[in-house]
């Protein structure tokens, strides 16, 4: 199918982009930011979106690239998935990002699709928002009024709705380095290699000296209108020694992960009904935690 007509703006700078966005929104026009376009173009072709204009950020080099900034890794919004998953800095310091990014779509899409685009699209079925949530990433955004930071916990407002205000552009994402002793895993469950995650589980977990879990962070993909943290399971995992099942048959790791779906409101769609998604979240969380523990 074929997109409806729209205007096209290719700003020369981020400031330019902010101004264009602010002006358009003031005029009541529906403009959309074009990053890699891998989610947007199918929507346009199916005529599920009718923007009056696209603002193409694709030619702004300052939005692209990965940098090691001491306590965090900064990933420019326009860095492609392919660049992210190949980045030595990402792989060394924030490996969960690399693991999850490698599961996004397919190679050709990863060449065009961008880290920031996936975040700003705020699709709860996307793989990266749950990771951002689990890692407590910080989103750096700019408007004509200046820069501000949005914690991941506040960034994903609703289904396909990020906390970007009028005229705001996502510049990049700060991904905190968690330091040593952490293990990571992204467990994606989908029906075919190309399909969206039915459920995904992003896990970062740290053991204490005694071997018991000291901290666990769990982000869930496609378990609600936004990505969600499995806070109850995280709390339950604290102090759990992931040893073989106890002599009385108890398995504290399993029991803790059985609460992974607490507080979620998973959707019903073609690929799964909510009760199955809840079940998957529990099973996959246990597997992801196990894999992250190594």
């Amino acid at each position: 199918m074929i997109p409806a007509p729209f205007d096209y703006v290719r700003p020369a700078s981020v400031e330019d982009a902010c101004r264009v966005l602010a002006d358009a929104e003031a005029a009541g026009d529906e403009v959309k930011v074009l990053a890699g376009g891998q989610s947007l173009l199918p929507l346009l072709r199916l005529r599920l979106a009718y923007p009056s204009a696209l603002v193409d950020l694709g030619r702004l080099p300052e939005l692209r690239g990965v940098a090691d900034r001491g306590d965090h890794v900064y990933i420019g919004a326009l860095t492609t998935h392919d660049e992210v998953m190949r980045s030595g800095v990402v792989r060394e310091h924030v490996p969960l990002v690399a693991l999850a990014t490698a599961t996004v779509a397919d190679p050709a899409v990863r060449h065009r699709g961008t880290f920031g685009g996936s975040m700003a699209h705020a699709d709860p079925a996307g793989d990266l928002p749950a990771v951002a949530l689990a890692l407590d990433c910080v989103f750096v955004v700019r408007s004509s009024d200046g820069e501000r930071e949005i914690p991941a916990a506040e960034f994903f407002v609703d289904y396909l709705e990020p906390a970007l205000g009028p005229g705001e552009v996502l510049l990049g994402v700060r991904v905190p380095k968690l330091g040593s002793g952490w293990g990571f895993h992204y467990e994606k469950f989908h029906r075919t290699a190309q399909a969206w995650a039915t459920v995904g589980v992003a896990v970062a977990v740290r053991r204490g000296d005694g071997g018991a879990i000291e901290e666990a962070r769990i982000g869930l993909t496609n378990m609600g209108p936004t990505p969600v943290r499995a806070r109850v399971a995280e709390a339950a995992l604290r102090g759990v020694a992931p040893s073989p099942a106890g002599s009385n048959g108890s398995d504290p790791l399993r029991e803790a992960c059985a609460q992974a779906d607490a507080g979620t409101s998973p959707p019903a769609d073609l690929h799964a009904r909510p009760d199955y998604r809840r079940h998957l979240a529990r099973v996959l969380t246990r597997r992801a935690v196990g894999a992250a523990l190594g």
Binding site: A4, P5, R45, L54, R64, V66, D106, P107, A108, V109
Partner: protein, 173 residues
Amino acid sequence: MPRITVSVDGVTYEEEVEPRLLLVHLLRDRLGKTGTPVGCDTGNCGACTVTLDGRSAKSCSVLAVQADGSEVVTVEGLARDGRWHPMQEAFHAEHALQCGYCTPGMLMAAIDLLRDDPDPSEEAVRRGLEGNLCRCTGYTNIVRAVRRAAAEMSRAPHERMPGAAEDREAAAS
């Protein structure tokens, strides 16, 4: 209307395009490069895969304006001096195509795959081609063909890889 300059299979074109014009329609309807077909409208099938500045991209999910200043290689640009690319030879040798509709995209994706992994396992080939759907072959012979081409290309490396923009994508990081 935006004016763009784009190189396709070694020829430079200057075109005025509607912003909404898809790259694949620029290729097919404006430039006569009908070797690249369209198979879906959601970016799933991969039939329209080309290389854009050296890396595989689905030309149905790229606007022509986004390709401004870029170098595009399509299936029509693979053969050199009348000789087929080793991947084309391998697809022929292993009977890796039947109706051939997915083949242009499959070839471009497979060539891209070998840039990253010159000697891929069966598993790596299958994962690397997950964005390209074929309804005829069941993929068994496609996997064989890609591995055959890999072996062939390791003997005579890289001279016939399309797209000279290998360095370009490193710029970001």
